[in-house]
Chain length 256, copies 2
DNA sequence: GTACGTCGGTGCGGTGCCGTACAGAGTTGG
DNA sequence: CCAACTCTGTACGGCACCGCACCGACGTAC
């Protein structure tokens, strides 16, 4: 199997940025600002203009759909493999979905104006990478649509935790059942039962809002097939560039 | 309310193409081939290269996710408001999802090579429109992810039929319960019960694989809120261009 | 300490859909 | 006109999750 990367190495990497030629990365450097992405930081809000885009390092962001009756559910999540705020790249100033930081961490921020001027409306090689990522995100969202209907809460919980672990690059992060329920589109007690099962099986460990992943492989085993397809799609973006440059595939994928 | 467009007028229109300046539309004309899009025509197949893109007129296409156990579910549908095969625009040669013609009709075909050379890799104004449509399709797919989990089969059936009606531009088209079940991600008998309810309520009429929509407003009333958000997103693409050119908004939207 | 708020575990009746089976109604072909 | 097939309606036990309620464990403030 692959060896897990050291946390220090992972901490300051975004796969899109890492796949850029050094010269282009240097050109964009003045517009990229290192940021501590705190939990709950809003990236897109329905009806409001998108102010910044984010290249996450070890932060994880979620796109959720909220219904008028208060129920909500996640339709996509992204981390180091992507760019939060791709709607700007698609020539939009706002979007009806909500996107925010789910698991706190670090990342690079670029303002909408800088992004449009220096990336979107130029011939930056980053555009090709973003196009591929938008496609991967569309695939991920499509599969989420299927997964939400066809698979059980237990399977989806395993998939979700495994994918978060891959993106956060660490075993422990803050996470409440209430919050998980909103992501999975189920009620809180349903999550409690499912999470408790995983805890008893020795896969995870809970303690008042803090989750610790004990056995990532076990989670993958418990997840539905969607896990493999989603993660394979993401890694395929970076497969072409791997031979050209240093391997950026510290992105973990198991059982693909 | 709005008056329904005459079928003849609707029959040869795709909103993306209609929104183009006349000169650009004329420039692309040699590459666009009128086609009778028959039921089941495959547009994207997992693992295989995408050969053609389609601008539907009154045909409706579906993107579905298929699981290894044989179950399947739709993650997005598109018709006259979009372009089937946008993955090519996103620099992909293939995609893991399956896209095919759901309701037969007409449309314009363009080969992948022609599209890349004459649209994607040029500064055609069509690129801006497609970007906006890709965003709308992403929003639609995201909402489908939520809808599939949070809403009942009855609500989703109403939404689906109403959206198909908007795109097909006619009241009658071939449709079997078996097929609807695959779209909604439920079992066939579940669809039979739900469809029978709508029939008894006088909203639709079934006859051995042929569906006739009797009361579109009734379907919209029975649909979940997702209907309005999805359709509003699509019409918003064409709102900007409406003042500039002739109104292409024969796309029906009610209760938005 | 006591009081309070937050978070997680559990129980239980209700319901929506599953999974499967079967019957009837229409359609096609000899 | 009968046989075979396709499509739709219906029935029923089972299960996953809902919806709600309650309790206990832990953390924090005073």
């Amino acid at each position: 199997m692959e060896t897990a990367p050291s946390p220090e190495k992972r901490k300051y990497e975004n796969l899109l940025l890492a796949a850029l030629p050094a010269a282009e990365r240097a050109r964009l450097d003045p517009y990229l600002h290192f940021e501590n992405m705190k939990s709950g930081l809003s990236i897109t809000t329905p009806g409001e203009p998108i102010q910044n885009l984010y290249f996450p390092f070890d932060a994880v962001t979620s796109t959720v759909q909220e219904m008028s009756d208060g129920s909500s559910i996640e339709s996509g999540l992204m981390g180091l493999e992507g760019l939060a705020g791709v709607q700007v790249w698609l020539r939009q100033t706002s979007t009806p979905s909500k996107t925010f930081v789910q698991i706190p961490g670090t990342g690079m921020r670029i303002s909408t104006e800088d992004f449009i001027r220096e990336v979107r409306d130029t011939s930056s090689p980053l555009n090709d990478l973003i196009a591929a990522y938008v496609h991967a995100f569309l695939v991920l969202t499509s599969l989420t649509a299927a997964c939400n209907r066809l698979h059980t809460v237990d399977e989806r919980l395993c998939r979700w935790l495994a994918m978060c672990y891959n993106r956060a690059g660490r075993r422990e992060f803050p996470l409440r059942h209430e919050f998980l329920a909103q992501m999975l589109g189920v009620h809180r007690p349903t999550v409690s039962v499912a999470a408790n099962m995983l805890q008893k099986a020795g896969l995870i460990q809970y303690q008042r809002g803090n989750l610790r992943i004990l056995n990532p492989e076990g989670l993958i085993d418990g997840a539905c097939e969607c896990y493999s397809i989603m993660e394979a799609q993401v890694t395929s973006i970076y497969r072409q560039t791997r031979s050209e440059k240093k391997s950026p595939s510290e992105f973990r994928l198991r059982r693909a």
